[in-house]
């Protein structure tokens, strides 16, 4: 009994609880009402990032090429955070700014990119990836892209929507042909 109390009120975990990271479980299909975050009951579709305003549409598909309508994407860009669920078409659309160059490591730094974290029903763990913007200087020398087999680098690059100026599309393919590159670390 005392041990149970210590686990919550005391300064250390009880001895039967090892300091091993808690196992991940899927976000499931019904997270929308639970991860609203903003006080207005909505998720965060606008990143407070400085720079040229852009719309970034992320389109999530599965191994059969079908849209994933119950994924959740979290973005991080220079400390600015965004979080959106995908819609019926597997798409979510963020308002943000073109990211800037990242200093270091090394003299040429990293190409502008946005960090993305992917959750979904059917994903027992979340996934990490990066979104680069086609044509940005530095893509050729980016040290992270350099670790990606050449044939797969394109999966990390958003392209301009030919139908709408200022809108970029990032295809996030969870599995199969053109599978997006995911990172550990």
């Amino acid at each position: 009994m005392r041990r149970g109390r210590d686990a919550v009120r005391g300064t250390s975990l009880s001895a039967d609880e090892s300091l091993v990271a808690t196992s991940s479980q899927t976000v499931g299909p019904f997270f929308h009402f639970g991860l609203t975050t903003a006080a207005n009951g909505r998720m965060i579709d606008r990143l407070r990032a400085r720079g040229e305003p852009v719309t970034l549409a992320i389109r999530v598909t599965d191994g059969a090429g079908e849209p994933v309508p119950d994924a959740m994407i979290e973005l991080l860009q220079a400390g600015a955070f965004g979080r959106l669920p995908t819609d019926e078409n597997g798409v979510c659309e963020f308002a943000t700014a073109r990211p800037g160059r990242v200093a270091g490591p090394g003299p040429s730094g990293q190409a502008p990119h946005i960090f993305a974290c992917v959750f979904a029903r059917g994903l027992l763990r979340h996934l990490h990836t990066r979104i680069y913007f086609a044509g940005d200087p530095g893509i050729e020398t980016d040290p992270v892209l350099a670790r990606v087999p050449e044939g797969r680098r394109g999966t990390l690059i958003a392209t301009p929507d030919p139908g709408r100026s200022g809108r970029w599309i990032f295809d996030l393919r969870l599995q199969g042909s053109g599978e997006t590159v995911f990172f550990d670390g």
């Binding site: 919550v8 196992s23 599965d62 400390g79 027992l124 996934l127 992270v144």
Partner: protein, 227 residues
């Protein structure tokens, strides 16, 4: 790396993984190139009833009132303070307030099923809620999820990001649940089960359950003095 304490991405008994699990191995990044330690600034205001799911509507929800509390620590045992902890769950009848939940169990107008809080300097969180019901799903014939509360933990960076589910002691559905059994290590599975705690139980009010959470890595929050 995780010796079976974290689930694999592809686990066919959980049918949704079959088309959604990436099949290519993840590319390892050294810490110098990682985004995981990039700080995420600030959270949104937490409302007064955000951590009490029984007080978010005009009347009290149906069901067994419970208190769920515990600490969020990193793998070094240090408290993760000011972490955003978000929860969502089904109501006492096993129904989510979600337009796509078609389980023919009643909705409770007095239960939204979503809460959030910020951990205190000791890494502690606490929620008052009602015990969720089990519910059926379509994964396999006569499939039911054990009662659970979804948890999302967000510290100061993505290094400590965690989304998981907390279960309740002695649930007869455990042996049949592929989401839980995707975790190979039996002790890791057991650590997802909260513990009934009489010392947390409030007389004439609510049953108490304790559940501690260990997030990956070391928390980026500068913290003087180790536990």
């Amino acid at each position: 790396m995780n010796k079976g304490t974290q689930p694999p991405l592809l686990y066919p008994p959980y049918a949704s993984t079959v088309r959604r699990a990436p099949l290519e191995p993840a590319i390892q990044l050294p810490e110098s190139l990682s985004n995981l330690d990039q700080p995420v600034y600030g959270w949104w205001p937490i409302g007064e009833t955000d951590n009490d799911l029984t007080r978010q509507q005009p009347d009290e929800p149906q069901g067994q009132r419970i208190i769920v509390t515990g600490r969020v620590v990193d793998e070094d045992g240090r408290p993760v303070r000011e972490a955003l902890v978000e929860v969502w769950q089904a109501n006492a009848a096993g129904r989510y307030r979600h337009q796509k939940d078609s389980h023919p169990a009643p909705l409770d107008p007095n239960f939204t099923g979503a809460g959030r809080t910020i951990t205190d300097p000791d890494g502690r969180y606490e929620f008052t809620t009602i015990k969720p019901g089990a519910y059926p799903w379509r994964n396999h014939d006569n499939a039911w999820r054990p009662a659970h509360i979804h948890f999302s933990i967000f510290g100061t960076s993505f290094r400590t990001r965690l989304v998981t589910q907390m279960y309740f002691p002695d649930d007869p559905l455990f042996p049949y649940d592929p989401i839980m059994h995707a975790i190979a290590d039996a002790r890791a599975r057991a650590r997802l089960i909260s513990r009934f705690d009489l010392s947390l139980t409030r007389p004439d009010w609510a049953l108490g359950f304790s559940w501690n959470i260990v997030v990956c890595g070391a928390d980026a929050t500068p913290f003087e003095g180790r536990v």
